[in-house]
Symmetry: C2
Subunit: 295 residues, 2 copies
């Protein structure tokens, strides 16, 4: 039986850890939540405690600083993991940070795989997350059976490639949602029902998963997350930090970041990212809701 | 048997007119092309001649000035069509121009329906265009059987609504293609194979018809049209003219327009709009092609 560790039991991490338990694995956790312990999780008390009890440690943390701290900080994994152990970082962080942390762990003989996810809480619970992995193929094969308990993993390339794929994903999603809101604002201002426009164009080249998921939310003002504005802003901050670190100009990602920043300033950070509609509503004094939407 | 007219036998108009003929209708055309005459089209010699021979006249012209000229200019439709006749403008033009032309035709008792299309030459030939219509429901019902010979029509709203839906479509498509190129440039610069990223994210929230159609073109440098950069720039010019005419700020559409302008300046106006990849390649000195792409 594999000895696993899981650090980061937030909205995403809890169902992911529970899916590992459900698949029959031993899982030591840090800061154990009741539901995870009830599902069989063992309280490792600290990152070092988790490290001592596990052959593979999974991380699901907010951002680069937290991953760096848990991996390399005082009482962190680096000092506690035996050489040859594997860390699988499923957090969404800056791929440059991933490579730095990977190099520091490698000095201790510890291997790192990055494996950020896409799909949100619902797919985390269902165990159907998209998992974009980066690292050595051998390490990926070792982690793959466990990743499969949480979703569908794809090896994209060397260490950091999973994070890079995630950033590409988040760039395209943010910009496409904004473009949908921008287009629908034109329809509304021109006196045309945006929902009718959606019906006319959804099966053409403009059609997308974003349009199917987000356009109806805009019309019905259903901004319960889903994926939060504040988390998407965090991801776009990593996009721009990574891009600019590589001397890459990203005009659309930077503009989308400004839009998310305005939404957070207006107190909408906890809404679903389809609330980009609210940015356009404010910008253009237009209302994208259909007549019967409450708000 | 319906007496139809068709004005505008370009790359799109020719197969559309031939599909009307194939459906068994009489079609008078202006500036008859050999293949259309061979298919049974009658040469009306001039817009007025077409008007005299037809109960419903379809237009498929480059832009607003050409539609205005054919509809209202010397020897145009307005002077030649009997009151009660119907004009169906399938060109992609500014919806404000559509309403002006509609009002001028209405003074002569002539009705106008706007019905721009999406789908390109291939779908024009197959008779499977998406057709976004605007106008009175009664007029739409009258034109619908003929529109069905060319594709799938949807009535979006009053006159101009079809054009507005088309502009929304073109906004979302241009911005999404650019976002895909922007994201893939980040992948390439970060040393990750963009084709692998495509494989990892295509089934997630970033997935779209644009991504399926355009991302492989970027990697393989297949920029044969498809839909031309210059035509998309024309559409975005109409987006911005319509939007700004309605006092609407459209930051992403205007930025996409600048990108298409740069491509045209570089001599790429006749390439497929997936050549937005070339904008990012120039901007960032990066090559989105896979190793075996020729170029």
């Amino acid at each position: 039986m594999a000895r696993l560790g899981f650090i980061g039991l937030g909205v995403m991490g809890r169902p992911m850890a529970k899916n590992l338990l459900k698949a029959g694995h031993r899982v030591a956790v840090h800061r154990a939540r009741e539901d995870v312990v009830a599902a069989g999780g063992e309280d490792g008390k600290s990152p070092a405690g988790v490290a001592a009890a596990a052959d593979i440690v999974f991380l699901m943390l907010p951002d680069s600083p937290q991953v760096r701290d848990v991996a390399l900080g005082d009482g962190g994994l680096a000092g506690a993991l035996a050489p040859g152990r594997l860390v699988v970082d499923m957090s969404s962080i800056n791929p440059l940070a991933t490579r730095e942390i990977g190099a520091a762990l490698a000095e201790r003989g510890v291997r790192l795989l990055d494996a950020p996810v896409s799909g949100g809480q619902e797919k985390a619970e269902a165990g159907t997350l998209a998992i974009m992995a980066g690292g050595d193929e051998r390490d990926f094969r070792e982690a793959e059976p466990f990743l499969r308990a949480m979703g569908a993993p794809t090896l994209v390339g060397p260490l950091g490639s999973g994070q890079t794929a995630k950033l590409v994903n988040q760039t395209i999603v943010a910009v496409n949602i904004a473009a949908i809101a921008e287009g629908m604002a034109l329809a509304k201002r021109a006196g045309v029902d945006p929902a009718k426009v959606f019906g006319a164009i959804r099966n053409g080249l403009a059609g997308s998963r974003c349009m199917e998921d987000k356009a109806p939310r805009m019309f019905e003002k259903r901004f319960d997350p889903g994926f939060r504005v504040s988390l998407h802003a965090k991801d776009l901050a990593n996009v721009l930090e990574a891009g600019h670190g590589l001397r890459l100009a990203m005009p659309f990602a930077s503009q989308a970041m400004e839009m998310l920043q305005v939404l957070m300033n207006d107190g909408f950070g906890d809404l679903d990212h389809s609330a980009l509609a609210k940015y356009y509503e404010k910008l253009n004094a237009v209302d994208l809701g259909t007549a019967d939407a409450d708000d």
